[in-house]
């Protein structure tokens, strides 16, 4: 654990890319390959097992430290990080490990620690788990405990991107970063051999269903006019779904999320649809929830995707479609370096059009019109292009985005190859301007991590008569300085405390920005806003000047008006 925990803290203490790469290299070179494999999985954010519930962990820690549970909770509320809180309250390391001078061996190497104290707990009774946990506490230093707690509860996230990890491995192995990035997408690095073949100079057949690293777009920062001639660009809707790659090769079919999770079981109808693709095809596109004639809001897709295995009921209730917008591999050949115009032509030969006419030209509903020629259960379409003869045309089209249930436009350079990572310049997302209302702070809760100890998690409300009804939780958008100032106000205007949540007297007004509104049964207001964040603090506004529920209902009517027209809202 020591080597990995040292790496964790080195990565934590620097913001320099070079220092991070150096620390990673040092780790991968010095760690035994089985440890390196295990460390790599964690660094890449592989789905982790929750071996012990945080509930049990705090109870055991409280007893071990001989303090009441409520005091652990209070400490957690102050520290803002459970792993750290528990590591700090426990008595000091009890078992002194023999101080090995040989750095290549450590008493509790990561892989063994992982097997024995995390995976080994699966399915075991609590009494056994507790025994293992207490023994491990005795062997670890507080710093090591923090990292181990995070592993144990399945929440170990390290502040490095996969790209950075790939770069470190590339520098270490002498391979191209892109090659490593691709190999890492294989996502099954379990054993020492896996790790060795990952950095092996020879091509591997490790995973023949491997996707390609995703090309990520950047938000457009200037006026689109500055991108040059509109003729050099292709415009598409920016779909509000989940990015995915569909891989169809002789070895089978795989649907990959951007987090490189295989989602075959969650989206079986897409797997079925992919069977009709020619062998050696890789599509990049978006998973969406949609009824035959209209798109469903993202929250529905999110609900759908949260089921690991989609049963018949949810498949009928929330059907999924895949909108393809790029072709990365055709007939088994990697075509990513070909220009977009070429890839687009090839894409059209593989995936049918689902659109009767291009929505950009129609004033009609924001709906997916099924291609009458296509079979009724068609689940895979290509993303239509939006005609725009000038940037002004596109600017006008973009304004319709919200009504159509999309986030805005994507602008892609026609001559661009499919790069990996987020290089700027060829792919831009041109989102629609957010909606905004002024909302009043109703509840506040202490933040976590960097914002631990400050009340930075806000629940905001709008007025319904003289009552505040909550409409959104918002965490981001204010400067550290403002957060500190607001924290003080929250503390001095607290009316009630419910555990970590403070109810405040309405004094603070924030301009809340969000992408869209939809109906919700989960919120008291009956309205849910998409991707809420704080645009700014309205010191100039008094609480009673904030928005009302009816203001929000107007926005809702505008946003859903089109869908209601088509009579397809919810069946």
């Amino acid at each position: 654990m020591k080597r990995f925990s040292d790496l964790y803290w080195k990565l934590d203490s620097t913001t320099s890319t070079n220092q991070k790469i150096e620390a990673l290299k040092e780790y991968f070179v010095s760690a035994p390959p089985e440890d390196a494999a295990c460390g790599l999985r964690v660094l890449c954010g592989a789905k982790q097992l929750r071996a012990v519930s945080t509930r049990s962990l705090r109870e055991w820690a409280a007893e071990f430290a001989e303090i009441p549970l409520w005091l652990v909770e209070e400490s957690y509320a102050h520290v803002g990080d459970l792993a750290e809180t528990l590591a700090l309250i426990l008595p000091d390391q009890l078992t002194q490990e023999p101080n090995s001078t040989d750095h290549s061996t450590e008493p509790l190497p990561l892989s063994r620690c992982f097997e024995a104290t995390i995976r080994g707990l699966k399915g075991k009774p609590d009494s056994y788990k507790r025994q293992v946990v207490e023994e491990t506490w005795k062997r670890l230093t507080p710093r090591e405990r923090i990292v181990w707690h995070k592993l144990l509860t399945g929440g170990c996230r390290v502040g490095v991107s996969r790209t950075l990890v790939a770069r470190a491995l590339a520098e270490m192995s002498g391979l191209e970063p892109a090659v490593l990035a691709e190999r890492m997408m294989a996502a099954t690095i379990e054993t020492a051999e896996d790790f060795q073949s990952l950095i092996s100079p020879h091509p591997t057949s490790a995973d023949s269903l491997r996707p390609y690293p995703f090309f990520l777009a950047s938000p457009i920062s200037n006026e689109p006019q500055e991108l040059g001639s509109v003729m050099d660009w292709q415009a598409e809707w920016k779909w509000d779904g989940m990015r995915a790659q569909v891989v169809r090769r002789s070895a089978g079919i795989s649907i990959w999320s951007r987090g490189e999770e295989r989602m075959n079981d969650a989206f079986p109808e897409i797997v079925e649809a992919a069977e009709h693709l020619p062998d050696g095809t890789v599509l990049d596109g978006e998973l969406l929830a949609a009824h035959p004639n209209n798109l469903l809001p993202f929250s529905m897709l999110s609900r759908r995707a949260s089921r690991k295995r989609a049963g018949k009921k949810i498949r009928t209730e929330i059907p999924a479609v895949f909108v393809a917008y790029d072709l990365l591999e055709a007939r088994g050949k990697d075509i990513r370096s070909e220009p977009l115009s070429f890839r687009r032509r090839e894409l059209l030969t593989v995936v049918p059009s689902a659109f009767q006419r291009q929505p950009a030209l129609s004033g009609g509903p924001a709906t997916l019109h099924r291609n009458p020629a296509a079979s009724s259960d068609i689940r895979m379409f290509h993303s239509p292009l939006i005609d725009g003869h000038s940037w002004d045309d596109l600017t006008l089209t973009r304004q319709q985005a919200r009504r159509r249930g999309v986030e805005g436009l994507m602008l892609k350079r026609i001559a661009s190859s499919y790069a990996h990572g987020r290089p700027r310049g060829d792919w831009w997302k041109w989102k629609v301007e957010p909606l905004e209302i002024d909302a009043v702070l109703h509840y506040a809760q202490a933040g976590h991590g960097r914002r631990a100890g400050l009340h930075t998690d806000y629940t905001l409300g709008v007025w319904d008569g003289d009552q505040l009804v909550t409409v959104a939780k918002a965490y981001s958008g204010l400067s550290d300085k403002e957060l500190i100032e607001i924290d003080k106000i929250i503390r001095s205007t607290t009316i009630e405390r419910h555990g970590p949540v403070r109810v405040v007297r309405p004094t603070l007004v924030f301009q809340l920005a969000f992408e869209n509104v939809s109906r919700s049964t989960r919120h008291k207001s009956g309205i849910a806003v998409r991707f809420p964040r704080i645009a700014r603090w309205r010191r100039d506004k008094l609480p009673h000047e904030a928005a009302t529920l009816s203001d929000l209902k107007v926005l809702l009517a505008q946003a859903t008006g089109q869908q209601q027209l088509s009579g397809e809202q919810t069946e």
């Binding site: 102050h78 700090l88 991590g449 960097r450 500190i484």
Partner: protein
């Protein structure tokens, strides 16, 4: 029967003796636990403090202030009330105030620590019936590392910086922490420099007979002082100012008990933190309460309600005492220069005192 000490709008008051302890408004007679700005405020007619703290208090209260002193453990009777001062170990001249009347004894700790500190007298436990304790770090997550280990880490850090020609800058309170730090530094590594606010108090410490290593004033218009081998001790408010830029390439570290938490370090954006505090940590707080033998404990500035609840569960009569003391300013509160403390709202830990303070301020 009324309590021997009680909170009034002017501060903690002993009606029987007609004096205040660390009042927050000018009064006729103020007994001072220590010279930090949240405990010692100017404007009172007479001050009483421990003899070793006279010079330090003088620098804070001005040359006109009337300051009487008592030796540690020396008793004086004020209007029939027995008063004595006992070392609190917080900084030079810091005291616990023992007040005894009609068979009941109270001890007010002010700020205190149990750790060793060569720049002041060590905390002495004083038996009492009612113990008024601070609780700045009264959560079980706060357990201080051994100060010698921390000193070793600081010197190792300084040495590494010196070897790469970077000036080291330590951010610490000008009064108490700065002098304690100086005493922990290894002068063989390079020259030690003090910010003007620090130097004023270094002189007061020297005048009181405390031995400190050589500390230099910062020469005007200097870059690369000490040839890049130097270390500068400056108040936390110096962070991010142009004053720091004059030293060219620097390594910055904050010295505070709050540095124990990763979130605070990261939020503060200071690359390095050393955990050293002049306040009791949780185990020492529990130990001090136990050693006092008090059956009743009043908890002031810090995690007041939490510590009071815990002590109640442990069978003591414990309550929160709402004062205006601050303790060690959390760096999140922005301006950490303790000179500015009385201008700012209390730290967010002092939840129970917040309301009162805000109301008072309005």
């Amino acid at each position: 029967m009324a309590d021997l000490l009680e909170i009034t709008p002017n501060g903690l008051y002993c009606a029987a003796g007609n004096f205040y302890i660390d009042p927050w408004r000018p009064v006729s007679h103020a007994v001072i636990t220590h010279a930090h700005a949240d405990h010692a405020r100017p404007g009172s007619d007479r001050y009483l403090c421990a003899a070793p703290g006279k010079h330090v208090l003088r620098t804070r209260m001005g040359s006109q202030a009337l300051i009487d002193t008592l030796k540690y453990n020396e008793h004086v009777t004020i209007n029939g009330v027995d008063v004595s001062l006992h070392p609190a170990g917080h900084l030079l001249g810091s005291s616990q105030v023992r007040v005894s009347h009609r068979g009941i004894t109270w001890v007010v700790t002010g700020d205190y620590k149990l750790q060793n500190d060569t720049t002041c007298d060590c905390f002495e436990s004083v038996p009492c019936d009612v113990f008024v304790t601070e609780s700045t770090f009264g959560l079980p997550v706060y357990r201080w590392p051994d100060p010698e280990t921390v000193a070793h880490e600081i010197n190792a850090w300084w040495r590494a910086n010196a070897e790469s020609g970077r000036t080291s800058v330590l951010l610490a309170y000008a009064l108490g922490k700065a002098q304690r730090l100086a005493s922990l530094l290894d002068p063989s590594i390079g020259p030690i420099y003090g910010h003007g606010a620090v130097m004023k108090l270094v002189e007061a410490y020297r005048a009181s007979g405390v031995r400190l290593p050589p500390i230099n004033r910062i020469p005007p218009h200097s870059r690369k002082i000490g040839g890049g081998r130097g270390i500068v001790i400056a108040p936390p408010s110096a962070a991010g100012t142009t004053w720091i830029n004059r030293f060219g390439e620097t390594s910055l570290a904050m010295v505070s008990g709050w540095m124990l938490l990763r979130g605070v370090r990261r939020r503060r954006g200071i690359p390095k933190g050393f955990i050293l505090s002049d306040h009791v940590d949780y185990p020492d707080l529990m130990q001090a309460v136990h050693a006092s033998g008090a059956q009743r404990v009043l908890v002031t500035h810090g995690f007041t309600d939490i510590v009071a609840r815990l002590l109640t569960e442990r069978g003591l009569k414990a309550e929160v005492l709402a004062t205006r003391f601050i303790g060690e300013t959390n760096p999140d509160d922005g301006d950490t220069d303790e000179d500015a403390q009385d201008l700012q709202a209390p730290t967010h830990e002092s939840i129970d005192t917040d309301k009162k303070d805000t109301e008072d301020a309005q």
